[in-house]
């Protein structure tokens, strides 16, 4: 079975419920969390998560739309990108 990994980036002001909100969507879409980190990007709170998908019926567009919706509620910016873009860009 094909496994896809996605990097989920949350950028914005740290508030209560961000992790809960994001992980709930991941769970709804059967996205397994394999890594979670917090850091600062130019003094802005940033959370990085790596999620793994094994479900063949996973529709990326729906997942991204749901994440955008949650992001709007929490007033943060959420991006979902395939891991390859980071691997290709920085590693030979």
């Amino acid at each position: 079975m094909k496994t896809d990994r996605f990097v989920i980036t949350v950028i914005g002001v740290d508030t209560v419920g961000i992790v809960a909100g994001v992980t709930r969507v991941m769970s709804d879409f059967s996205v397994n969390i394999i890594d979670i980190r917090q850091t600062l990007m130019e003094d802005i709170f940033t959370m990085l998560m790596i999620g793994e998908v094994k479900n063949e019926n996973f529709i990326l567009k729906d997942f991204q739309e749901k994440m955008t919706e949650v992001g709007q509620d929490l007033k943060v910016e959420i991006r979902v990108q395939h891991e390859d873009v980071f691997r290709y860009m920085h590693r030979i």
């Binding site: 990097v7 980036t9 130019e42 390859d84 873009v85 691997r87 920085h90």
Partner: protein
């Protein structure tokens, strides 16, 4: 950890703050099997072929955009030079072909279709002549069609008859689109040594040595390079070059990956990735500002050519390391109207047409998106083209001219195209005549390949 936070954040920042994008994914489609003496049947053939090949281009590119979170700004099509594909048609002009291309572009949802083109570096066939004479009307009657003519090459020299003809054609195109700031001329470019696989408009066409259908990508990122250079603390020029190389490498890797994904999903051969710093009117997304970041007060002052040479070379080196399929133009573009820093330099009196010409000796294209007074004579335009062709032919590089003699405008006015084409201040041209020189016609012979001083 197989991905570091720094790597992830660097990529995110490039897209969020520094306008990193894939500027265009361009599908090249051969029209050579569409020939027919009856132009109506020919038009039917090309329409069906283009729509058939490209029907999923836009949706596929959008899906890849979502997958990687990297914007693909434009989806476009290039076709076999129409002068070749339509040569057999028994018709006095090719305007209806341009209209068919326009219709096909609208049907599949691409914003430009390139290839209303002819390759006449040594001479013109009847088809070439009919195509060139159709250009002004074709550009006035269509919205998305781009036209390009190759007038010179290092192997053939410069076709001065065609150079003279293009001066008239550009003037006519300006006149026929006078009510829209002569936008027809923004969709028309003349070349020396035109590349067959260029994905960027207005000069994209599907060269005669190309496959049936290919995907070429144009990757950009002046904003990313600008930020990278500005982050360095008091760097030497060697360090600047190193930083640009690394940045170009990353941008190219990203572009190639996305373009390969698009081509794989479409089942179409992957062609090239063209790593060109193509500015946009957005703040910071400017080639002029990169040159200024190196220590020039304004783009266009003394030292600009040297700075641009460094930039262009470093971009090529980074790109060539990142991908074995680098092609097209690959370097830095210096279009005036599309670059806020260039516009400012012209308005401040720092950048002149003459300096731009010198800069084209070391960058990847040429005099691009330059507005000149509407009363500039056809022979002066031809002479500007001839100078630029000479630079390309002698230096064995691509050069181009996309010039807009803006109808009714004078120096100090500006033209407004909107969108990616931006706005251009009208620049001064020499008041002295070149008419007799241009009238002579004939061919400037190909240059000697030795004694290279």
């Amino acid at each position: 950890m197989y991905l570091t936070s720094e790597e992830i954040l660097e990529t995110i920042e490039m897209v969020r703050m520094e306008n990193l994008d894939i500027r265009t994914v361009t599908m090249g489609i051969s029209l050579r099997d569409c020939s027919h003496p009856d132009i109506d049947i020919f038009n039917q053939n090309i329409y069906e072929k283009i729509v058939g090949k490209a029907e999923n281009l836009v949706s596929t590119a959008e899906a890849v955009e979502d997958l990687y979170g990297i914007p693909i700004i434009n989806k476009r099509i290039s076709v076999t030079p129409v002068a070749i594909a339509a040569e057999a048609c028994q018709s006095p002009d090719f305007v209806s072909v341009a209209q068919t291309l326009d219709k096909a572009a609208k049907e599949v949802g691409v914003n430009f279709i390139g290839g209303f083109s002819a390759l006449v570096q040594k001479g013109m066939t009847n088809g070439d002549r009919r195509l060139i004479e159709s250009i002004p009307e074709a550009l006035a009657k269509t919205e998305r069609v781009c036209s390009s003519i190759n007038l010179a090459s290092s192997k053939a020299g410069i076709n001065m008859d065609a150079v003279a003809l293009m001066g008239d054609v550009i003037k006519k195109a300006a006149k026929l689109t006078a009510d829209a700031d002569s936008i027809g001329c923004a969709k028309l470019v003349v070349f020396a040594n035109a590349p067959d696989d260029n994905p960027f408009m207005a000069g994209a066409f599907h060269g005669v040595g190309e496959a049936e259908c290919v995907i070429n990508a144009g990757v950009s990122g002046p904003g990313v390079v600008n930020s990278a250079v500005r982050r360095l603390k008091n760097p030497s020029l060697g360090e600047i070059s190193e930083e640009i190389k690394k940045t170009a490498f990353k941008i190219t890797r990203m572009g190639e990956m996305a373009a390969r994904e698009v081509s794989q999903r479409l089942g179409v051969e992957f062609g090239v990735v063209d790593i060109s710093l193509a500015p946009t009117p957005a703040v910071g997304d400017s080639v002029a500002e990169i040159l200024e970041a190196m220590g020039l007060e304004r783009c266009g002052t003394h030292g600009t050519t040297a700075a641009l040479a460094l930039l262009n070379d470093a971009v090529k080196k980074g790109g060539a390391m990142a991908s074995s399929s680098v092609g097209g133009l690959s370097g830095a573009f210096i279009p005036v109207s599309e670059d806020a820093g260039m516009i400012r330099a012209v308005n401040d009196g720092a950048l002149s047409l003459e300096k731009l010409e010198a800069m084209t000796c070391v960058c990847s294209v040429g005099l691009d998106m330059i507005a000149v007074p509407g009363d500039t004579s056809a022979s002066t335009i031809s002479a500007i083209i001839a100078d630029e062709m000479a630079i390309g032919v002698i230096n064995k590089k691509t050069t181009a001219v996309r010039i807009i003699p803006a109808a009714g405008k004078k120096v100090g006015d500006s033209v407004e195209f909107g969108g990616l084409l931006g706005a251009a201040p009208v620049m001064n041209v020499s008041a002295f005549s070149s008419e007799e020189f241009i009238k002579r016609g004939g061919r400037i012979p190909a240059p000697i390949q030795s004694l290279t001083n």
